[in-house]
């Protein structure tokens, strides 16, 4: 039930309507703060979708997503420093993040299951330390721990950033839809359910996971770069920070891991907490932590998982998780 690739064969219409509506928001005088919330929602949703792809559908608990975000952001910032336009920086961010994923896949794909998680956790830290010691352009006052400004970021209107992130976000949603309904999705579902059986059915387990890892890295890098256009400034410690992982996990787990609509619901709640809790400094992250633990224990399938269960008459397979096999 979790992945049922033949489900929802049509149903593009609601998504299309929502997209058009969202795209029109800046033009019809929606309050500016809506655009801000939606901007963050788009970024988080794109990031969470990509994590859901790996953790939910491939069984790869990747803790190195901040690495791709940071690389996307840094590529963008450095491209503006050598005088290239922002859109090129965005694309380069995605490409370099994907290339980096290819490189690190050599060691991390030798690890499986929980070892994979350990291996990937070290990657952002390694990059953080690298960027703390690296100054490719600029003088003494730039680079390394001082970070880089995204040149020209202040001249880009908020509405342009909004549309950009909308495109990235919808792109990630469509991508997930496409993947889940394609042979790739079917293959991933098979691997997730039973890796050895999948291999003996002719599935190249490594190849499918590898494609997913690299693809997810590219979109994550793109979303990261887009985030830093709005931010205007990047430095290593916040770019390669475990807080990003927290956001992705929270969004995916609250909404429902392994569910297509899960990250969307989760991302709404995370954005809501982000702004609401800023007024209650000190307890904000505490509350997020409690929510995470609580949801995981009470409703491990997340909000949408529970909703689906309530709607579905065919409950048994929703309650029972399949036994996961070690890849």
């Amino acid at each position: 039930m979790k992945v049922n690739p033949f489900r929802l064969r049509g149903g593009l219409a609601p998504l299309l309507i929502a997209t058009v509506l969202l795209a029109l928001f800046p033009l019809i005088g929606v309050p500016q703060n809506w655009l801000l919330y939606l901007f963050l929602f788009f970024i988080y949703l794109a990031l969470a979708n990509m994590w859901n792809w790996l953790a939910g559908y491939c069984g790869l608990i990747s803790l190195c997503q901040p690495a791709f975000i940071g690389i996307g952001g840094y590529t963008l910032a450095l491209m503006t420093w050598v005088g290239l336009p922002i859109w090129q920086g965005l694309i380069a961010g995605a490409i370099i993040a994907a290339l980096f994923a290819v490189i690190i896949s050599i060691p991390v794909f030798r690890l499986s299951g929980i070892y994979f998680a350990v291996g990937t956790l070290i990657v952002p830290e390694l990059l953080r330390l690298f960027f703390l010691n690296w100054r490719p352009v600029g003088g003494l006052l730039y680079g390394k721990g001082a970070g880089y400004a995204v040149k020209g970021a202040t001249t880009i209107p908020a509405t342009d950033i909004y549309w950009l992130t909308l495109i990235i976000c919808i792109g990630s949603v469509l991508m997930m839809r496409f993947i889940l309904r394609s042979n790739l999705g079917l293959g991933l579902a098979a691997i997730r359910d039973n890796a050895s059986s999948a291999a003996s059915s002719g599935i190249n387990v490594f190849k499918l996971k590898f494609y997913s890892f690299v693809g997810s890295a590219a979109i994550t890098g793109l979303a990261g770069a887009a985030f830093y256009i709005q931010q205007g400034f990047i430095e290593p410690t916040s770019a390669f920070n475990v807080r990003w992982t927290m956001v992705l996990m929270l969004a995916t787990v609250i909404g429902g891991v392994r569910l297509e609509e899960g990250p969307a619901v989760g991302a709404i709640i995370v954005v809501f907490l982000h702004f609401l809790l800023a007024r209650y400094g000190g307890v904000s992250l505490l509350i997020q932590g409690v929510i995470l633990v609580f949801i995981m224990l009470i409703a491990p399938q997340g909000i949408m998982g529970s909703v689906r269960r309530a709607l579905s008459h065919r409950t048994p397979h929703l309650r029972r998780q399949p036994a996961r096999t070690r890849g």
Binding site: L111, I114, L286, M296, R324
Partner: protein, 276 residues
Amino acid sequence: MGILLGGLYSLVALGLSLVFGVMKLINVAHGDLVLMSTYLAFSMMTSFGLDPILSLVIGMPVMFVIGFAIQRYLLNRAFKISMEAPLIIAFGISIILQNFYQIVWTPLSRGLTPSYAMLSFSIGGLNVPLVYGLDFAVSLIVMLALREFMKRTYVGQAINAASQDRGAAQLMGINANRVYAFAFAIAMVLAAIAGVFLGLTFPFTPQSGVSFLIIAFGVVVLGGLGSIAGTFIGGLVMGLAQTLGGYFIGTGAQMFVAYLIVFIVLGVRPQGIFGR
């Protein structure tokens, strides 16, 4: 110097390694739990003037109970849900603890500073801080004690059996859930010791848990997951890499060199240098 510091690192990593070995859980809250002991010692030092090392008499049992409770009431339930649930819950605990420390002890940087924390002795012209020596000695003692414990006591053997194969252990009549809880509690006692000596060696803030965790990860990956001797040697390699990196490339590159080694080892020998 690096070797002495490495002793401390392996002490921090030991609890993580034990938990991993027994229940195949990466306890991402480990660093924050270590920090709990540091803050307990800090409070006892500032409120009652109790020496940090002596405060372990209280700290160790407290941490034992906390560890038992976390395993019993949170993680045990999580293990039944799915593979990733315990990981995510540990992540949540980590966030909760960090912010809890911040509220209780404020975000300022603190240090455990009894008079001996400033002393040093010299070996061959090198001034070695006394606490570095203590770190190493204590980690060696703890390591040996843990080994004996695992070999000689019933609980130790049960933990060992459960870590080899849960199914087999259950056939032998071992209640795995209980064993898990004990293992976690013992890991927390190790964390308690590590926390106090970390506090004596470095200053700490509510966020320090994350860096402790990452160091511990590096050590565990280097030494091989779940092996006591491996953890010890992994710690030494880590400490040495850090110090040598510092001397040859510059202070900024210290940890980078250490993690790069971790990552390379991971790529070449995923089971760690000394793993099976």
